[in-house]
Amino acid sequence: MADTACVIGKGIQIRGNLSGSGDLVVEGRLEGHVALQDHIIVEEGGTVVADVETRELTLNGKMSGNIDANDRVSISSTATVMGDIRAPRVVIEDGARFRGNIEMDVPLPDNI
């Protein structure tokens, strides 16, 4: 428990800005703006309505908002996500629901 920077439980709603370092687990509801330096996990049942800046984001629940991650975004099969994603690595599992833009660096051959 000591390592867990932040857990937002099922019965908790937060509206506002959330910033800092450390991992964040969302089982409840988070609205506003999130800027974290580490890993955010939105669990199944959790809802995030926010623009998110982070290093890594794992989505199992619902998310609406734009995502700017400097490492990786994973959208699992139970997730529903709306918004634009900018990240070097984006993973979408079969069964995931997603609508929006994805922006990664795409190295194309010269002759395309």
Binding site: M1, T4, A5, C6, V7, I12, G16, G22
Partner: protein, 104 residues
């Protein structure tokens, strides 16, 4: 142990509502409304008005606290603001500035 923890490196500026326990080790500015217990640990900083059932303060609180059951100020805490609750405990070593209203 409570489900929800705001870690020491986290800053929240806004509103927290809920029906479960909340542990604050980081910083919360704004407003907190809970149906259960609020724990402000030694590293926690609250600049917020609080409505809750129970509050246990070991860190710093600036703002008014209203509890339907109990407010407990532990030693080494710092609290500036008014407290309204049927039961209020202030430990030896706690620093507190504000009004106390036990609704007598």
């Amino acid at each position: 142990m409570a489900n929800t923890v705001i870690g020491s490196s986290i800053v929240i500026d806004g509103e927290i509502t809920g029906d479960e326990d909340l542990v604050v080790q980081g910083t919360v500015k704004g407003k907190i409304q809970l149906k259960e217990s609020l724990y402000v640990e030694a590293s926690g900083v609250l600049e917020a008005d609080v409505e809750t059932q129970n509050a246990e303060v070991s860190g710093q609180v600036t703002g008014n606290v209203t509890a339907s059951d109990k407010v407990e100020l532990k030693s080494n805490c710092r609290m500036v603001g008014d407290i309204k609750a049927p039961r209020i405990l202030i430990a030896d070593g706690a620093s507190f500035k504000g009004n106390v209203d036990m609704d007598v």
